[in-house]
Symmetry: C2
Subunit: 165 residues, 2 copies
């Protein structure tokens, strides 16, 4: 009803549609694999994997929330679930009494280990099987740039923004 100010090229549209389609189908398949292999939701896997990537397997709640794009209360919920299953522990930080440090337990690493092979297998089957090495290199290069750009202005888990609305 208004004038069409939104402009997008056919190639851009194709890239976006293909991206969302791959994202949906891949995620759906991966969620099933994670559920079957380790009884993990996608977010729970992301949390464990993020901890596993961390140098000493531990991160503050807020940092973890920020990396997984999460509200803090939502992370509290998931952290409780994972702690109840013995996959992580929560302890206070020596540096800052306010902080809670989440740490991956050996059981948590075991679950990651149980889930990884099938995860990677699914990636090969669903994604990489149809692509050449050059394709994959292109994908890595372009998406890495896009990720860097997106990450530059990340949504924080709690941002009571100072001033300058």
């Amino acid at each position: 009803m208004t004038r069409n100010t939104a402009e997008i090229t056919p190639t851009q549209l194709q890239a976006y549609f293909a991206f969302t389609e791959v994202s949906s189908l891949l995620r759906h398949a991966v969620e099933k694999q994670l559920r079957d292999a380790g009884d993990l939701s996608y977010v729970q896997f992301q949390l464990l994997a993020t901890l596993g990537d961390s140098p000493d397997g531990r991160l503050r709640m807020t940092d973890l929330a920020d990396r997984v794009v999460y509200s803090r209360s939502g992370l509290t919920y998931q952290a409780q679930v994972l702690e109840a299953r013995g996959l992580v522990t929560r302890g206070s930080s020596p540096d800052d009494e306010r902080s809670v440090v989440v740490a991956l337990t050996p059981a948590g690493r075991d679950v990651l280990g149980a889930v990884f092979p099938g995860h990677i297998d699914a990636l090969h089957r669903l994604l990489f099987a149809s692509l050449t090495d050059a394709d994959i290199a292109d994908l890595a290069r372009v998406l890495q740039r896009a990720a860097d750009h997106l990450r530059a202005d990340p949504p924080r888990s709690a941002a009571p923004r100072r001033r300058k609305a």
Copy 2:
């Protein structure tokens, strides 16, 4: 603890991580835009947009469920929500009395129209701004191939699979 049979190259890993990161951040931002501009969830937008893409703006429930990767009961729920808002109608098919045909209403098209400009704007700002035309062309080419591959064996909304487990 077991031998590491899962093999993945660094480039593949980089491509995958970047893909998931872009996917998460982009989706998070888009969900907010859709909520603000049209009070739509991401899935609801997908459903409306899928109908809008369809030649006459109408699809059977099962076909719609299959395209959006959805359980049929889940689609029934969303179709009720969208129908209550007057964005779609549901009617029986003349061909097959069992089928229900979902059709986009003018109000539904209006909502799509209200949401699209901001949607495309967000895409430019978040995704395309950091990429060259060549990057975008690469992305479109590679992801299109991946999407075609993934779509070849889609998860159906209800698949009591015949035989040949």
